[in-house]
């Protein structure tokens, strides 16, 4: 096993430990704290949307016409339907654009 692959294994284990920490952390904290300050709670509530948006917006702006257009189609579907349907329709859209339009 080469060094780079070993680093990947370490990375996966570290990610697993970080995830387990979140899953046990709340239990440990709740037994210590009585009250979470509202601004901290607001910040924590914003974490997932804030992180995930950084993986969406640049892809939409810099991803090219085909990626941007299929993301728009998927967005429209996602307002009404499940993530799975978003993926299927978005995937179909990019295939149509790549093979029939461009």
């Amino acid at each position: 096993m080469d060094a780079q692959h070993l680093n990947l294994i370490y990375l996966i284990i570290a990610a697993a430990v970080a995830t387990f920490a979140t899953r046990v952390g709340g239990y440990v904290l709740i037994t210590q704290f009585k009250h979470i300050p509202p601004r901290l709670e607001a910040a924590l509530n914003a974490v997932p949307a804030a992180v995930l948006t950084t993986l969406v917006a640049p892809a939409f702006i810099y991803g090219g016409f085909d990626v941007g257009a299929s993301m728009l189609v998927a967005f429209a579907i996602g307002m009404r339907f499940s993530t799975l349907r978003m993926l299927l329709v978005g995937w179909a859209a990019v295939m149509v654009i790549r093979h029939l339009v461009l």
Binding site: A16, T19, Y27, V47, V67
Partner: protein, 238 residues
């Protein structure tokens, strides 16, 4: 172990398992695309066992982001689990130490939601039920990762069959899952503008931390609404 409770758990988790299966396969295929071997992909599913953060992890890894930022991002995406484990604490007080270890390890979104619902309906949250519900999701998740990774290795150019758009669309779907939360629009707008700007002026991978920080800081600085009681329902995803 109560056999009936275990079987009831298996039945309850079955639908969740079916819904999560395509995402397990998708993770496997995208992991291989981002430089993972089949074994790496299965190892990640087996140890991290948190769909969205696994996708974030491989995406950042494929972009040669520094390891600490990958781990931090996985931590951030899974941070909601802190709320889950705090909230189910009152239902699992009677579990032993070892049972609690497995309980927390298997604590994915639907597992949390179903545990809360079961307690709300006045049904006993036994370890047998919890384990049945968890295992019927956990093991198929590994098998689907393996199948997806195997399939991914057979594919030549992922762009030719459109695999590359699936990840941003998947993340878009996750973002939409939070749209009922307070301050959703300002947070998303701040993170979007900051991450696009950071991508342009600083470059990847810093767009992730800079963009995320912008949204989180804004959420903390905006006027706070009066107490809303419970933490809102989380998104549906394994």
């Amino acid at each position: 172990m109560k056999k009936n409770d275990f079987r009831e758990g298996l039945r309850g988790g079955f639908a969740v398992m079916l819904a999560a299966s395509p995402f397990g396969a998708l993770f496997g295929a995208l992991a291989v695309e981002n430089g993972f071997s089949i074994a790496d992909a299965v190892l990640m599913s087996a140890t991290v066992y948190a769909g969205a953060s696994q996708m974030v992890g491989i995406e950042l890894f494929g972009n040669n982001v520094q390891p600490w930022l990958v781990v931090l991002s996985v931590f951030a995406v899974n941070f909601r689990h802190v709320l889950y484990s705090a909230s189910i604490a009152r239902h699992i007080r009677h579990f032993t130490f070892v049972q609690k270890f497995f309980t927390f390890f298997l604590l994915v979104d639907p597992q949390y939601a179903e545990t809360e619902r079961r307690a709300e309906r006045g049904l006993p949250v036994t370890f047998s039920w919890y384990l049945g519900f968890g295992l019927i999701i956990y093991f198929p998740w590994l098998i689907n990762t393996f199948i997806g990774a195997l399939f991914g290795q057979l594919i030549g150019d992922p762009k030719a069959i459109g695999l590359d758009v699936l990840l941003p669309i998947y993340f878009l779907g996750l973002v939409l899952g939070f749209r009922k939360r307070d301050r959703f629009l300002p947070v998303v707008a701040a993170s979007a503008v900051a991450s696009v700007g950071a991508m342009h002026f600083v470059g990847s991978p810093w767009h992730v931390s800079i963009g995320a920080l912008a949204g989180i800081l804004l959420a903390a600085c905006l006027p706070q609404t009066p107490a809303r009681g419970e933490v809102p329902a989380m998104e549906q995803e394994a």
